[in-house]
Structure formats: C-alpha cells, structure tokens
C-alpha cells in the first residue's frame, strides 16, 4: 500500500497528542502494517517514555539530520510487536534543530519503507508545529471538550488547511460521559457543530491511560479499557473500516462494570 504520513497535532498543549500517537502506532502495527512513529517535539521528547523505549535510544532524529548516523540507526524497533519502529528526537536541543525541509526529506525516505508514518507534533502554532507537519500528507487534530482546547483546535485546523493537509480528522479526547449527561461538558455533537472537520474518534477520560503511561506500555498492546477500545477503533477507521462509535453514555458504575473492574478488566 502507498505510505500515509500523518501528523498528530492540537494547538493546545497536554490534550493527548503523544498518548494518541503511541496508541495508534501500536494498534496499526498490530493490524499488520509497517509503522514508524516519530517524535516531532524537539527539546521536550515524550514519545520514548510513553512507548517505554527510553532506555534503547542511541541516536536521535537530530543525529540523522546532522549526519552523525544513518536514518535506520536512529530507528528503534519495538520488540513487543512486528513492524513497529520509533524515531526519538533530541532532548537537549531546541526547535530549530530540525527544519521543515529536513523533515520533508526524512519523511520522503521513510515513505519507501513504511505503510504509516505517524508524527507526534509539539503544541503551539509556531516553527515546532510547522516543521513537524511539513512532511505529513494528513492530520489528526486532538482536542479535549473544553473551550480553550476547541478554540485552539479551530486555529490549527485553519493552518492545516492552508498547508493543504487532507484529510484532517478530529479526535475528541478525555470526554467524561457522566459530565456530558449532566450538561456540564461539551458533547461530541457540540464540538462537531463548531469545528468543520470529520470526527474519527472519541476517547473517554480513563485512568488506564495514566497507568499505561506509568508502565511505558501503550494500551493498545493488550489492555481492554474503554480508552483502549476507542484507540483500536480509531486505528480501524484510519484504515478505512466503518466502525460504529461506542456508546459512552451507558452506566459505567453499574454492577457488572464494577465486577469487571474488580476482576482486573
């Protein structure tokens, strides 16, 4: 299949870009695709720890760009699944260590070897974001259902459109069904009324996201929480499958889900 290069971005910081990148990379690799995830957040690298690969870094993207090593020397193979690689970035450098042209060149090389290249973008609308997005064809915009995050998502969507990324799809992360039910949180429909993009997934706020990041083990490796299911569904939709959106509104505090929680879900 022709390689698809997708940037995961948001505008506002801390809404779940890195979490999303890691989980989708694992999910797509488990579907049998050749996947590489790139940390595009120079100076604030996180993808390595979220994926649990921080102890295996020898070279970084910046080393490749500076000619210290070859591209494949900076690619860390994730041994927990087939065909999954991660390219870390430098921690002790600033955003200008990687230019848009260099990113475009790296993506061009990866295109020949992979089915999916996922790029974890830094927050913001400045150079860091622009460079991370430079090599991408498509974009996933992550937002939480909050005024500030949706506002920034709108800004980013405008910029991505002007950069001619297509398709641009939306992920609403950290939704709390009981708050939505009470009318105290923007609902999926509210956000879609406001942002002019297609929805590709809704991920509930879920403690399993935190425990998985504690362990450096993306949920989509094995976990069976609601957030896991949501990420698996997004991966399937990215591949063109029609997967109905989960009903998040059913009672999580019911008897059976309590039992399920007790027995380790």
């Amino acid at each position: 299949m022709a390689c698809r290069i997708i940037v995961i971005t948001s505008g506002k910081g801390g809404v779940g870009k890195t979490t999303t990148t890691a989980n989708l990379a694992v999910a797509l690799a488990n579907e049998g695709y050749r996947v590489v995830a790139i940390d595009g957040d120079v100076g604030l690298r996180n993808l390595d720890v979220i994926m649990g690969l921080e102890n295996r870094i020898v070279y970084t993207l910046v080393d490749v760009i500076e000619g210290t090593c070859r591209l494949n020397q900076a690619m860390i193979r994730d041994k927990r699944t087939e065909n999954l690689y991660m390219i870390p970035t430098a921690q002790s450098r600033t955003k200008d260590a990687v230019s848009a042209e260099q990113m475009l060149d790296i993506c061009g090389q990866l295109r020949k070897e992979f089915d999916f290249v996922l790029i974890d973008s830094p927050a913001g609308i400045e150079a860091g974001f622009r460079n991370a997005a430079a090599g991408a064809d498509e974009a996933l915009v992550v937002t939480t259902p909050e005024v500030s995050a949706v506002r920034d998502a709108d800004r980013i969507i405008g910029l991505l459109e002007s950069m001619e990324k297509a398709p641009i799809s939306l992920i609403i992360n950290r939704i709390k069904p009981d708050m939505v039910k009470r009318g105290d949180m923007l609902s999926t429909e509210d956000v879609l009324d406001i942002l002019a993009v297609d929805l590709i997934g809704v991920v509930p706020d879920d403690e399993s996201v935190v425990t998985s990041s504690n362990k450096g083990e993306p949920l989509t490796f094995s976990n069976s929480s609601r957030a896991t299911k949501a990420f698996l569904n997004i991966a399937k939709r990215i591949c063109g499958n029609e997967v109905p959106f989960m009903d998040l509104s059913d009672d999580q505090k019911g008897f059976f889900s309590s039992l399920k929680r007790i027995f380790g879900n």
Binding site: D154, G183, D184
Partner: protein, 93 residues
Amino acid sequence: MFDFLKNLFSGEKSGDVAKERLQLVLIHDRNDIAPEKLEALKVDMVSLLKKYLEIDEMGIRMELERRNKSVALVADIPLKSSQRQIRGRKKNG
C-alpha cells in the same frame, strides 16, 4: 455545590454556556477581529460620526453576528436627539 444550585435556578448548564462562548470567540478568531480591534474601530467610528451627528456614545452597541453562512458587523448607534422627537410626536398625536 454553589455551581450546582446556580445551575438549578438559572436552568443554564455549563456545557451550553461553553458552547455559546466558543461560538462567539470563534466568530472573532475566524474573521481575525479580536474584541480589542472592534473596540478601536468603535472609537474611530464614533469620532467620524460625531462630525455629522449628535450620538449617544454610551448607548452604542457593536458586535459580530452570525448569519446563515456569513458574519455581519452589526452596529446600533442611538442619536441624542431622537428621544425628544418621539416624545414630541406622541404629544401631538
């Protein structure tokens, strides 16, 4: 708790408030008209209008309004003399 009571009495949910605020903020963002820019425009406009009309500066309202597929700048500029005229007409009629 206070919020809860407030919601109960006002009947307005914070999710709805969020949506309304977002829609308004995005009208400004998308048209690149920050509220401070609108304020500056208002000041300029008032000084221009004052050359021709006696206007009630305190009563001026200016805002962006959503139409079906477009956005309009709506200004409501009361004139100082208008009240007297209306009262006068009423008396005579």
